[in-house]
């Protein structure tokens, strides 16, 4: 069983793939900050970010469908909130829906707010996805370590990345073994109980595995400190890339302020 990894396209060789992971990580943070800091309910400032991201995806040869699918996976959490805004934000009433004794009204300010937040979410998610699609995960980790992100945090992410798929494989095997016996049928209460059983067994297995991994680490001299990952040096290309990103972020925020004033 092999899952499509987050950094599935990271092994390609394009100009953006060749950039220093640390530079790309900084660039992603700058872009996300610029997007989040846009204040006005106006979509114009976002077009700069969107166009820059589109250019990045094209140069990096990231398939749009790949990005769209991953975007869908992370979107439910945010969309649930965004969808509620048109109904609760006060403003000029556009439509009203009568549901029994209640009146649900959609306001113009609410719609604008929803579009604003929705755009922010999509752009931030696409920025992060763009980074992962053009940078191997270990590169992102090494970049984070160089940016002085606390070691504990980087190590946690490294383990998450290494064992998430191993765990998912275990879960899939257990669910398959269960389906092979109940055919996905059976009374609802029994299926619910067996779900709980799968979760419990998965927890115990994870716990055991964590102990075995610790043994394997300790057997090779682990004393709480992980060796530093190999580093890469920034080149002039990385500097140009970072300057470009900073200029675009500044342009986005300036446009926002001008429209605001």
């Amino acid at each position: 069983m092999h899952h499509v990894m987050l950094d599935h396209f990271a092994g390609r060789n394009t100009p953006v793939h060749r950039l220093d992971p640390a530079a790309k990580t900084v660039a992603a943070i700058v872009f996300i900050l610029a997007t989040v800091l846009v204040q006005r309910d106006h979509l114009l400032p976002f077009t700069i970010v969107a166009a820059a991201l589109a250019a990045y995806y094209v140069v990096g040869k990231v398939p749009p469908l790949y990005a769209a699918k991953r975007l869908l996976i992370v979107s439910p959490f945010v969309l649930a909130v965004v969808v509620l805004f048109p109904f609760f934000e006060p403003g000029h009433r556009l439509w009203a829906v009568h549901v029994g004794p209640w009146v649900l009204s959609v306001s113009d300010a609410g719609l604008a707010r929803a579009a604003h937040l929705g755009s922010k979410f999509v752009l931030c998610a696409l920025t992060a996805l763009g980074l992962l699609a053009t940078t191997p995960f270990h590169g992102v980790l090494a970049g984070m370590a160089r940016l002085r992100v606390p070691r504990v945090f980087v190590v946690q992410l490294a383990f998450l990345y290494r064992y998430l798929w191993v765990l998912l494989d275990e879960l899939m095997r257990m669910r398959r073994a269960r389906a092979a016996r109940d055919g996905g049928l059976g009374p609802w209460s029994l299926r619910f109980r067996s779900h709980a059983g799968v979760v419990g067994v998965l927890f115990l297995r994870t716990y055991d595995r964590a102990e075995r991994i610790y043994w394997a680490m300790a057997a090779r001299g682990f004393d709480g400190r992980l060796p530093a990952p190999p580093t890469q040096r920034m080149t002039s290309k990385d500097a140009v890339f970072l300057c470009g990103v900073a200029a675009l972020a500044a342009a986005t925020l300036t446009l926002d302020r001008l429209a605001y004033g």
Binding site: H2, M5, A158, R162, A219, G221
Partner: protein, 245 residues
């Protein structure tokens, strides 16, 4: 006579639940010797391996490469004892194979150039040259097992301890691993049920049952003794039973 690489005197261990897993195990392994540790499930083989590495607080005396195991020497012991655990997914915990092989030498405090040299040398030795940037998740089972061996070889241990090294391998991957082990000159303790492997790799076998040494002698003799093996829940190796060895 030179000091043995590994020496166990009356090693005992009891699990919290009360079951006595090791009941006075005594044996020693000379430098360069290759010993197979065999026995049925629950005989205490894996427990013994964990005790030797200092992961379980066992009673008795354990000496590894001249260091008597105790709280203050446990790091020295582990430095000289290279354990390859049964599930390579536990052994390969870093994001990339190269980093994983470099882990041991790097925690030993070796210079970066030396770490790189040992990483390359160990991957080469197990036939995985150029696998540095691969993710362990994407390796085949045989490749994972050989990568796990490389992570330990990079530390140049005096004793190699392998727990069920052929578990889950297909015949070709298994053959390849056996050939690899035959070419190593390190002292070796091979734990497992794969008696054919032990016959191929080890000169001596120790039969463990219910936490005690039930037999200790030349592998070629012990593993041909059908009565002894059957009385301890084992069977003749296939190559012996079919008359090929």
């Amino acid at each position: 006579m030179a000091e043995p690489s590994l020496e166990l005197v009356d090693v005992r261990y009891r699990y919290h639940a009360g079951a006595e897993a090791l009941r006075g195990v005594t044996f020693s392994v000379a430098a360069g010797e290759r010993v197979g540790l065999v026995g049925p499930n629950g005989a205490g083989k894996s427990t013994l391996l964990l005790a030797i590495a200092g992961f379980l607080p066992a009673e008795g005396r354990i000496r590894v490469a001249g260091h008597t195991l105790n709280r203050s020497t446990v790091r020295d012991v582990r430095r000289h004892l290279g354990i390859v655990f049964q599930d390579p997914d536990d052994q390969l915990f870093m994001p990339r194979v190269g980093e994983d092989v470099a882990f041991g030498p790097a925690t030993m405090g070796l210079a970066p150039a030396e770490v790189r040299a040992r990483t390359a040398e160990s991957l080469e030795a197990v036939g995985l040259a150029g696998f540095d940037d691969r993710s362990p998740y994407h390796l085949s089972q045989g490749e994972k097992q050989r990568a796990a061996l490389a992570t330990v070889l990079a530390m140049r241990p005096q004793i190699l301890a392998l727990d069920e090294p052929t578990a889950g391998l297909d015949p070709r991957a298994r053959r390849r691993l056996i050939a690899l082990l035959q070419n190593l000159t390190t002292t070796m303790l091979v734990v497992g049920h794969d008696l054919d492997l032990i016959l191929d790799v080890c000169g001596r076998a120790i039969l463990l049952d219910r936490g005690q040494v039930a037999a200790d002698g030349p592998a070629a003799e012990m593993l041909r003794d059908a009565r002894l093996l059957e009385s301890h829940g084992l069977e003749l190796p296939l190559s012996v039973a079919s008359g090929r060895a």
